[in-house]
Amino acid sequence: MNQRSLQYTTGIKDGIPIGLGYFAVSFTFGIMAANTGLTPWQAIVMSLTNLTSAGQFAGLGIIKAGASLGELALAQFVINLRYSLMSCSLSQKLKEDTPFIHRLLIGYGVTDEVFGVSVCKFGKIDPLYCYGLLSAAVPGWTFGTAFGAVSGSLLPDRIISALSVGLYGMFVAIIVPPARDNRTLAWVVAASMILSFLFSWLPWLRMISSGMRLIFLTVVIAGAAAFLFPFPTNEEDCYE
């Protein structure tokens, strides 16, 4: 096996756990999309073109509310802004002579997990390694969505109800371990949840749409936290 195809197969191997995890999570996303009123094809196209859990999930809420495209675009921008940092970091890991077309293709697949695995590899990475990762991750995410969206209508209510917390469960699993090890982050998470609760409960404030609430709270809380507790540089490179 030559060096380049070895890069690709190594990528697939490293990507299989990501793909399996994606399948489970996107299954619940598919169910939620169907509940929101999307057809299975719409859910599949969304997963294939967006490849992001938090963004798609927030997108469902915004579509359901019938909000404007501007609000949708702004919400996606804020929620997915973290990818720009990952892309900057990943850019340093690619060989300098990596052709433009490869950069365009790799850009499609920058997710928290793909980034986490790529950036922690030793030395420079080959685009084919990234394609290997994506060959396992993208089908997991897309087929999971398809199965969820199609079988959602066949499953009994109590199963749907149970699976509806699946995505939230994953969010909790992402938030809690770093917050356990970093007290500042724990306070930031607590403040986010309390303010989110107040904004969805207090009169007047609860009239703000869920998309705008998410944008506003994210910018204000993360902005204040960055101002009050600046993060030491070069430490988060392998935080996944």
Binding site: A73, S87, L94, V110, R158, I174, F231
Partner: protein, 104 residues
């Protein structure tokens, strides 16, 4: 309405792709500004926290099953269990609680 949903999906895809691809192609150097780096570090945690709570409480058929699922998920995540394990355990808690409460 159907076409409108595809427009929504298209806008989401374009914004998300632009965020990912622009730094890879244009900004090939590292971001040095501490505030920007810190801000980008905090963003995912704030976003996920705001999205999870209190929305999780109205995701299931009863607020109690959802609250129990949240509590169990926090404990499991605190103990460092994997994403899939935490996620499926939360689903299991809702299923069992609703099995008991809606059957009786």
């Amino acid at each position: 309405m159907n076409d409108r949903i595809y427009v929504y999906i298209l806008v989401m895809a374009i914004v998300t792709y632009a965020i990912r691809v622009l730094p890879l192609t244009l900004i090939r150097r590292e971001i040095k500004n501490t505030w920007v780096r810190s801000f980008l570090f905090y963003v995912p945690y704030v976003t996920l926290s705001v999205m999870t709570f209190p929305a999780i409480l109205s995701a299931t058929r009863s607020i109690w099953s959802a609250a129990a699922a949240l509590a169990v998920a926090v404990v499991m995540a605190y103990r460092g269990k994997s994403l899939i394990f935490v996620s499926l355990t939360a689903c299991g808690v809702v299923f069992l609680m609703e099995l008991v409460s809606f059957t009786i």
